[in-house]
C-alpha cells in the first residue's frame, strides 16, 4: 500500500494525525506531512479511515 497526500488541498484539520499518528504529521502551518509513504499492513485500516474522513479529500491510497 502506498499513500499519497495532496498538500495544496490539505486544510490542516489534523484528522489524519488523530487517526494514524504513525503515518501522518502536520507542519507548523498545519499542513499534512507524510511520515511513511509505504506504511505496513498494520496501518492499513487507520490509513483508509484517514482517507475517508479527510475533509479535503487530500489523502489517497494506491494499491499496487
Amino acid at each position: 500500500m502506498r499513500v499519497e497526500v495532496d498538500q495544496p488541498k490539505c486544510v490542516a484539520s489534523g484528522q489524519c494525525v488523530l487517526v494514524a499518528p504513525e503515518v501522518f504529521d502536520q507542519d507548523d502551518d498545519g499542513i499534512v506531512v507524510l511520515l511513511d509513504t509505504e506504511p505496513g499492513a498494520e496501518h492499513e485500516e487507520a490509513v483508509r479511515e484517514s482517507a475517508a474522513i479527510c475533509p479535503a479529500a487530500a489523502i489517497r491510497l494506491v494499491q499496487e
Binding site: 486544510v11 489534523g14 475533509p55 479535503a56
Partner: protein, 411 residues
Amino acid sequence: MTAAPPRRIVVVGASAAGLSAAETLRRQGYDGSLTLVGREPHPPYDRPPLSKQILDGTWEPERVRLRSPADLDALGLDLRLGVPAAALAPAARTVTLADGTELGYDGLIIATGVRPRRLPGCGTPGVHVLRDLKDALALRERLAAGGRLVVVGAGFLGAEVASAARSLGVAVTLVEPSPVPLAHAVGRQAGAQLARLHRDNGVDLRTGTKATGITTGAGRATGVRLDDGTAVVADDVLVAVGSAPNTDWLRGSGLPVGDGVECDRYGAAAPGVYAAGDVARWYNPLFGTRMRVEHRTNAAEQGMAVARNLLDPERARPFAPVPYFWSDQYGLRVQAFGYLRGHDEARVVDGTPADGRFLVAYRTGDRLTGALGVGMPPRALRPWRAAIAAAADWRTATAGSPDGAAEPSRA
C-alpha cells in the same frame, strides 16, 4: 431481537455525509444494493472551497470533486443524480423520488444537508446565495468583473466571501445586525478581532445594522436598504444569513423533524433510519446535549458512524465527537474544536489578540467545552482538543493560563 442483515440500503444526499456513509458501508463489507440519491447533477463535491479557492479563482471547478470517477465506480453504487427524493414512508420502507421512482429499503441514511435562508427579493438578478457549485460560479463571474459587493450577514460564510472579494479588488460592504460579528458563537473578544481583520482589509463593516430589503432598478438589484434609513449601493448582493435543514421531503413521514432530523445518540431517527451531516440533530453524550453542526468534518465522521450503526445495531456505538471547524479569512486560519455555542465564558489562554494570533478557551458550566485558535500552529491546539475530549474540568484545564482576559459572555 436480531433483524436480518440489510440487503437494500438507500442513502439520500450525495455530498460529504452521504458519500462517507456509502464508502463506510462498503468498507465494512456490505455487498447488498446501495443507492445514492442526489438532487444535484454533479457527483459528490466539496463545499468549503466554494467560498475560498473557487470564489477567488485559484481553483478550477474540477478540483472540488471528492472522488475520482474510478474510486466512485469501485463503490458499485446505483447512483441517481439530478433527482431529489420527494417522500418517505417509513412503515412501508420506501423512498419516492421526484420522478416517481419508488425505492424500497431495509436501511436508510438521510444526508440532505441544509439550504440558505433567503430574504424577500432573493430572486432578483444580482442577489446571490452561496451553497452549491452553481452559486459559486455565478458569484465568481461577477466578482471577477470587480465592482461593488454588499454581503448581508457576517457569519463565517459572509466573512469568507468578503475576504475572497477583497482579494479580487472588489469594494465590499458587510452588514451585520449584532454589534460584534460572531459574538454568539465565538465570544466578543474573538469576534472583535475577526471584525478588525475585515476593517484592516478595507471592508466597510456596518455592525448593529440590519438589512431590511433589496433595492432594485431596471430589474436588477442595486443594493440593500438598512434599518437606519440609509441604503448601500452595490452591483451584487450576497445574502449569507444562515441556513435551514432540507427536511421538506420528510413532511408527513412521521419522522421526528425539528431543527433537522431528530436522532438519538446513535444517529437513529426511526428503526433502520439514520441521519448524518448538516441535516442531523442528535444527542452528543460527550457534551450531554443535543446538537446540529454544519461542519465539514462532522459530515464525514457522522456518515461513517451511522453507516456502522446501521449495519450492526446491536453493537451500535454512540456518536460522541469533538466537533471541529475551520475557516480561512485574509490568509489567516481560524480553527475551533468543541461546542462553543451557549458558552458561559471565553478566555484568551495563548497568543495576543492584538497581534492577530491567539487561542481562546470556552467554559460551559464548570467544564472546558471548546477552544478556538486564530493563526495558531496545530501544536498549540492539540492539547486543548485532548482536554475537551476528556471532558476536562475548567479550572484544571486553564491552570497556568493567563486569566486577565476572562470575558463573561452572557451579558
